[in-house]
Amino acid sequence: MNWGDPMISLTSPTKTKAHGWPAGAKLAALCVSTVALFYVQNAAIHAVIFVGILTLYALPGRAFFMAGLRALRLLWPFIVVVAIWHLWTGEVALGAAVILRMMSAVALANLVTMTTLLSDMIDVVRTITRPLTRFGLRPNILELAIALVIRLTPVLVEKGSLLSQSWRARSCRPSGWRIILPFTVLALDDADQVAEALRARGGFDALKEN
């Protein structure tokens, strides 16, 4: 088993003007435009929209454009299935509209992710979860949990690759799913230690309320 390295964030290193725009406004615009995409049925209009989105991707330069196209690649199985389906049934215009709309929706959403810093997104999460305080959710605990996951994922991955190395040192058979049991136990032990460490620092009561 080879364990890959997780990347840090999907925000584009190419700085664009949109990086400075308020994240909440970008997300609201994304919601509105995605809903609007589903009201358009005409393939020609969808083609124009998609070309327009590609133009947005092209504005910040070649590196940004290529990164955007790479992110769309995960749609290829759906594109192939829909294309074959509609060539078979003969509804080519409908098939084209479905494929173009799917690509536009994902491309628009990726555009927001690529131009928004993680910290700005977390600010939005803080704002939209504020009403949930009344149901007992404490926003600063949520933020701490987000930070814990981002920090602990590479730690767990590191431990997982050590586990699979020790398996390989002792067996010539692949570890397969068996390794997931000790791996789960590792996560449970880490949770114990993290909880103790949090409590030793005063626990959640020591967190300042914003």
Binding site: W3, M7, V106, N110, W177, L181, D192, V194, L198
Partner: protein, 184 residues
Amino acid sequence: MEKNVALIALFAALIAALGLIPKVTLGFGVPITAQSLGVMLCGTILGSKRGGLAVLLFLLIVAIGVPLLSGGRGGLGVFASPSAGFLIGWPVAAFVTGLIVEKWRGAPLMIVAGIASVIGGIVVMYAFGIVGMSIALEKSLIEAAGLTTAFIPGDLLKAGIAGMLTAALAKARPASVLSRADAV
């Protein structure tokens, strides 16, 4: 409280780490990832509430732009893709799986956890996934269901593994199977 948050965070990180295990390809060319096994384990081990919250936390972090889904996917785009329904179904899947393990005490844990994973991780998750695909691809529910059948054998396999892993964990460290223990 600290313990519950630590467990939720660690299991969210566990789902992420399982996404980095290379895909296994089944005999007929369908790739399966260990990530949805992580969703089932969240339910069978952590129980309904903590399991569901762990998956929800994982998805929130994916949505704000950390590429933790298998294959290095992440960001808002995955929630706009035709398979978004499956992701939206994940927390519900973990919740239902956990609820069944919590309530059904009459059979051996391996059987209970396995069946709970089938109901939560396959029936519930596919219900969400199929609705999502039928909307995105403009297909009827039956047609969308047909498009997903290729993935069912892999998920049945994962449900079996989830059952075995949960039973093995209960044997080795009974206190760790929190879906069966009292609240921490």
